[in-house]
């Protein structure tokens, strides 16, 4: 009995070791490039091009990051990105929770059709709406404006779906009780329902902010002058042509684009994962 236990334990230990090795190699392959990016952004351009490469920077320098200020206007792009992402987030939180409440808890004609339209929209590829959206925005004279950058993203089918799913779990009795107490419909929504939605709002807020922060194609075609560039657009446009292999500056720029998102993600990761668990959609 004792020997059988020992062999089992040895086999378990071998299995565990193999498991850890595989997982660590996987982690290295997936997260390693981020570490490599951060370390390399602190090296002078010459050391970045060393063959064989240095792992840890021999000379630590912030020159690459300084270049983002002197050769590019990164603070402005950063502010543009933050402004656009914040407004997109607020729009989604407000409009999607309002309609999500109606779809989950109110009875009115046309509700089913509205929900089906929203669900159907989840399947439409971005390219279908892309051209008409661009025509619309340019006809409204909104190219190269913040409004033009924001308008197509103020609402989204995903947000409605998420809020509706969550709101359905709120007990009807709570809303009925508030109604019996004589509270108006909007007051019920604002004072009773919305405070209960905090977890869903957090998830939706993070996901929409992030999607907007990382959004690339739309600002690439709508922002036509540098003062309206968002971070990804500025970085992408800088990285073509003569600066294509100017890795020091490009890596520093990539760090600036990714770092805020990484911090938000690390602090609030459970909200990300809940978003997927609730809806199965990124």
């Amino acid at each position: 009995m004792a020997t059988k236990d020992t062999t089992l334990r040895t086999r378990d230990r071998v299995a565990t070791t193999v498991l850890y090795v595989v997982l660590l190699l996987g982690l290295l392959a997936v997260a390693g490039p981020f570490v490599w990016m951060a370390l390399s952004s602190l090296k002078p351009e010459r050391e970045i091009r060393d063959v064989p490469p240095t792992w840890w920077p021999e000379t630590v320098t912030l020159d690459n990051f300084r270049g983002l200020f002197s050769r590019l206007d990164f603070p402005l792009y950063f502010l543009n990105s933050a402004l656009v992402a914040t407004l997109v987030m607020v729009g989604n939180l407000l409009f999607c929770s309002l309609v999500g409440y109606a779809l989950a808890k109110l009875r009115y004609p046309g509700k089913r059709a509205l929900f089906l339209a929203v669900l159907g929209m989840l399947m439409v590829p971005g390219m279908v709406t892309f051209v008409p959206q661009f025509v619309l925005v340019s006809n409204m004279g909104l190219t190269n404006t913040y409004a033009g950058l924001i308008l197509p993203f103020l609402v989204g089918p995903f947000g409605v779906f998420l809020m509706r799913q969550f709101l359905q779990s709120i007990p009807d009795e709570l809303i009925e009780a508030a109604r019996v107490d004589g509270a108006g419909e909007f007051r019920i929504f604002w004072r009773v329902v919305l405070p209960l939605c905090r977890p869903a709002l957090a998830t939706l807020g993070i996901l929409t902010f992030l999607a907007s922060w990382n959004n690339f194609l739309w600002p690439l075609v709508v922002a036509t002058t540098e003062d309206k560039y968002t971070l990804p657009v500025a970085l992408a446009l800088y990285s073509v042509g003569e600066n294509e292999r100017n890795y020091g500056l490009l890596l520093a720029g990539a760090v600036v684009v990714v770092l805020p998102v990484l911090i938000v993600f690390l602090v609030l990761q459970r909200h990300f994962l809940r978003g997927i668990a609730t809806t199965g959609i990124k």
């Binding site: 378990d12 997982l23 996987g26 392959a29 997936v30 997260a31 981020f34 063959v51 064989p52 490469p53 999607c96 309002l98 309609v99 109606a102 109110l106 009115y108 004609p109 509205l114 339209a117 929209m121 439409v124 590829p125 390219m127 279908v128 709406t129 892309f130 051209v131 008409p132 959206q133 025509v135 619309l136 006809n139 197509p152 103020l154 609402v155 409605v160 419909e185 909007f186 992030l210 690339f216 194609l217 971070l231 657009v233 992408a236 990285s239 073509v240 294509e244 890795y247 890596l251 720029g253 990539a254 684009v257 990714v258 998102v261 993600f265 990761q269 990300f272 997927i276 668990a277 199965g280």
Partner: protein
């Protein structure tokens, strides 16, 4: 409401069976009120949704049957209805056909690769032996939340033929690494690997949720029957996970059918159109000002996605 009904029927004692007219009008008014409330909550979203999404979907379809070009926007009368010309033209357009093949290769190779990697990561993390599970989960998820533009900078640096880490590592074992992104045979495979790397964390989370829903007593029973770990995986995990795997496969397939950002930031569709995708081709046509033609291309893509979804529902339906 109570006041109003009292005013219309003052003579009726409370609780009496209500006569038809006043009760009917009360009910009608109640219904109207409910409709108004519902739409008051729905209206702001609906207006924005119609303008920025539903309308564009319809406009795109209409556009696809016209020869609308960017230069016609100021003079809409110059636009002609051309029927299905755009669609027939697409299927004789060598670049569109090339991009369709590239996209299919991307889906057919990319979806299984991403799924296998994600399933391996999820199974390993779910085995109950692993500590620091949160750390691994976060690590595998990192690329999902990072901007594609930043990822492209990192990957172009990693794949640089001279100073890139990949070729430096190959040099250590005596291999002279190729120019990954500028070789027409290697560019698409490189992007497939990059896409799998970028998306496996997302699928992993979905698979983990599926794995955690598999009842533990199934494994206990299998262990008692003397099943090895591999047999348990084959005969318990995989069948129980079938719906989750199908779901994961289809959403990944839908995403990969629209494959666009990777070539846009990594290769601009080159070299020799070897990484040109359908979405990228549509985008280029938009860039050339061929709006009607681009819209037709986007609807072909839409149909492919709908077809894929229908196949999924069929497969899931068989199961249930």
């Amino acid at each position: 409401m109570a006041d109003a009904s009292a005013a219309t029927a003052p003579a009726r004692p409370a609780g009496a069976t209500s006569p038809d007219r006043p009760a009917g009008s009360v009910r009608r008014r109640q219904r109207l009120r409910r409709a108004l409330t519902g739409w008051a909550f729905s209206a702001p979203f609906t207006v924005l949704f119609l303008v920025s999404m539903a309308l564009p979907v319809v406009v795109s379809l209409v556009m696809s049957f016209t020869d609308l070009r960017s230069t016609d926007l100021r003079n809409p009368l110059a636009v002609n209805v051309v029927g299905i010309d755009n669609y027939t033209r697409l299927f004789s357009d060598q670049l569109f056909l090339r991009s369709s093949v590239n996209t299919l290769v991307f889906v057919i190779a990319g979806v299984p690769l991403t799924m296998v990697l994600a399933l391996a990561a999820a199974t390993a993390l779910n085995s109950g032996l692993v500590r620091f599970r949160a750390l691994f989960r976060v690590g595998f998820y990192l690329p999902v939340v990072a901007s594609i533009v930043a990822l492209s900078v990192v990957w172009r640096f990693l794949l640089d033929p001279e100073v890139g880490l990949v070729n430096n590592l190959l040099r250590l074992v005596g291999i002279d690494g190729p120019n990954w992104l500028y070789d027409a045979r290697l560019a698409l495979p490189s992007l497939i690997v990059m896409a799998a790397w970028r998306n496996l964390g997302f699928l992993m989370v979905i698979f983990l949720a599926g794995l955690q829903a598999v009842p533990a007593d199934l494994y206990e029973a299998a262990t008692l029957d003397g099943a090895t770990r591999w047999q348990q995986f084959r005969n318990v995990t995989l069948p129980m996970l079938r719906p989750t795997l199908l779901f994961g496969g289809v959403i990944t397939g839908i995403g990969y059918l629209q494959f666009f950002e990777e070539p846009l930031v990594m290769t601009q569709g080159g070299p020799l159109s070897s990484t040109l995708s359908v979405s990228f081709h549509i985008y280029n046509q938009f860039g050339f000002g061929n709006y009607g033609y681009a819209a037709a291309g986007s609807y072909v893509l839409f149909l492919a996605i709908v077809a894929l979804s229908v196949v999924q529902f069929r497969l899931l339906g068989e199961r249930n």
